[in-house]
């Protein structure tokens, strides 16, 4: 038996939508350096024929293990072209279902990907002063709380993360 399923390996070997996005509308971050996964998700928002806001473009950068990389890749393919409302409905169970078998200790990686997407949409809505659904606000608060715990415990790590990202900000 292989450690990872075919679907995981497909996304790991050929990750989709990789890279930093120029002029993004929303950026979501999730994860922490201690357990070794950091995800950055960028979204560009557009409108569909009916005038609903959709995720026109999406890309990601992940520092992390096989599952973390595969997860973010899979999520980007699932939400590209979807309305923001549809995108927010995706749960970690949806990702896990697509992957089939996932080692137990890796299940939290799926949650991180979903969190990063929620954060990107939250970032877009709040920057544009648009109404934020209650559930998303709660989710954001939870992610912030998690971050706070991480920051209190591992302040240094967060600083390193910021510093590392600053270093690379202007490189295409």
């Amino acid at each position: 038996m292989k450690l990872y399923s075919k679907e995981v390996m497909k996304h790991f070997i050929h990750p989709q939508n990789v890279g930093k996005m120029k002029n993004y509308d929303g950026l979501g971050k999730a994860g922490n350096l201690k357990c070794g996964d950091i995800m950055y998700l960028y979204i560009k928002v557009g409108k569909d024929e009916g005038g609903k806001e959709i995720i026109k473009n999406i890309s990601f950068e992940t520092f992390g293990c096989t599952i973390a990389i595969a997860n973010t890749s899979l999520l980007t393919t699932m939400v590209k072209g979807k309305t923001l409302k549809e995108a927010l409905k995706i749960t970690k169970e949806d990702l896990l279902k697509r992957f089939g078998r996932v080692p137990l200790v890796k299940i939290h990686c799926s949650l991180l990907a979903v969190d990063a997407l929620g954060e990107a949409i939250y970032d877009y809505l709040s920057k544009n002063k648009k109404p934020i659904p209650k559930e998303l606000r709660e989710r954001h608060e939870r992610v912030e709380r998690d971050k706070e715990i991480i920051e209190i415990r591992h302040k240094e790590l967060v600083e390193i993360e910021e510093e590392l990202h600053q270093k690379t900000k202007h490189i295409k």
Partner: protein, 397 residues
């Protein structure tokens, strides 16, 4: 498919075909129980005692000082708990280093929960324990000092002979009760020369499956006169120190593996050092943002351990496996605990640096062609993962 390149000899080694051949009769024809009085038993007992001599020979010990066990983990547990419990009446203190194998770290932690005091010695940036720190840590109530001979992760070889001398001197000068010196030599026996007398070692752990023998056999050298309690009580095998029906086939294999190592230990070490140096030089030269973990010279002949900036080790190992290279990492994502390697943190790496670690360990069947292939494909693998990482710089290859 192309043949895989195995560079994880520190995890385990394939069994040498000569070892397999030596073991085979002990499954079907010479299957007796060493405790039986009849010919089958005598035959098994004879094989066991011959094996004891071969294993003792490789480290300069007497045969009656070798206790066979099932694993290095068991040997290390026996050394720490057995000696601590046998000497607890007047003394209470043990010294280990911060970079021991988990089975020593966890045994020490358990002893701590039972009321023993543990000093965990710091190491320098290369992973070296300072003999002077050992001297300073020794107290009147010290029972045992246990320092790993060479790190299974970063390959740093400790100054065991020097530490042995310090403990011997301290025993002569101050102590009424002897301080025992244990070393975990699972990564070194058969790879570098060991003499338990010259090095003043009282207890030594060695393992068969790290030196081309089968899994399920290991030993603890216990110097004559050492006060030690068994962990397993029963029929009184191994002079009462390790009751259990003896795994004769595996022990015969272990002994055969020792004999093979004894013949060629220096020559093989030189061959591996040459290949390892080529690998280290090549990686550091070809890949920007790559660093060597451990000491540049005082390291196991077969160990190379790096960390790469901006990427994570688990995905690196899986990526390398896809192109036919078997390697290992100290990343949190590879462990059940989701914490980075305590050894890499002890030598001063930050967690995210430890996450980017990669261990390549060579062995008897590693060829120069294989090292060349690794040097050819590793830079591409690193580049691919850095492309995905949010923390990349504009690395040029």
């Amino acid at each position: 498919m192309r043949k895989s390149i195995y560079l994880d000899y520190a995890a385990t080694t394939p069994v040498d075909p000569r070892v397999v051949k030596a073991m085979l009769p002990y499954f079907t024809e010479k299957f007796g129980n060493t405790m039986s009085l009849h010919s089958f038993g005598q035959e098994a007992k004879g094989a066991l005692e011959e094996s004891r001599e071969a294993v003792a020979d490789l480290m300069g010990a007497k045969p009656n000082e070798i206790i066979f066990t099932s694993s290095a983990t068991e040997s290390n547990n026996l050394a720490l708990k057995g000696v601590a419990l046998a000497n607890k009446e007047k003394r209470n203190h043990l010294i280990i280093s911060q970079i021991e194998h988990p089975c020593i770290m966890e045994s020490a932690k358990w002893l701590e929960s039972q009321g023993f005091e543990i000093t965990r010695l710091k190491v320098d940036k290369y992973g070296l324990v300072s003999p002077d720190d050992v001297r300073k840590a020794i107290r009147k109530d010290t029972i045992l000092v246990s320092i790993i001979h060479a790190s299974n992760e970063i390959g740093t070889i400790q100054p065991i002979a020097e530490i042995g001398k310090i403990i011997k001197k301290s025993n002569i000068q101050y102590q009424k009760s002897k301080i025992y010196f244990h070393t975990d030599a699972a990564q070194t026996l058969g790879k570098i020369p060991i003499d338990v007398n010259k090095m003043n070692i009282d207890l030594l752990t060695a393992s068969s499956h790290k030196m081309y023998g089968p899994k399920g056999a290991a030993c603890l050298f216990v110097r004559e006169g050492t006060k030690i309690e068994p962990l397993l009580h029963g029929g009184g095998h191994e002079t009462g120190l390790r009751s259990s029906t003896v795994n004769v086939a595996a022990i015969v294999g272990f002994a055969e593996a020792c004999k093979i190592c004894q013949k060629g230990v220096k020559k093989e070490a030189q061959r591996e050092i040459k290949l390892r140096n080529k690998l280290i030089k090549g990686v550091l030269g070809k890949i920007k943002g790559s660093h060597l973990n451990g000491h540049p010279q005082k390291r196991l002949p077969n160990n190379a351990n790096f960390w790469f900036e901006f990427i994570e080790g688990e995905s690196m190992v899986i990526q390398l496996d896809l192109i036919g290279i078997a390697a290992s990492t100290g990343s949190a994502c590879s462990s059940a605990k989701l914490e980075p390697s305590h050894v890499l943190l002890a030598i001063g790496l930050k967690p995210e640096e430890a996450h980017g670690s990669l261990r390549l360990t060579l062995g008897r069947w590693t060829t120069e062609k294989e090292i060349n292939y690794v040097l050819k494909v590793l830079p591409e693998t690193i580049k691919k993962l850095r492309k995905i990482s949010p923390f990349k710089k504009s690395f040029k290859f």
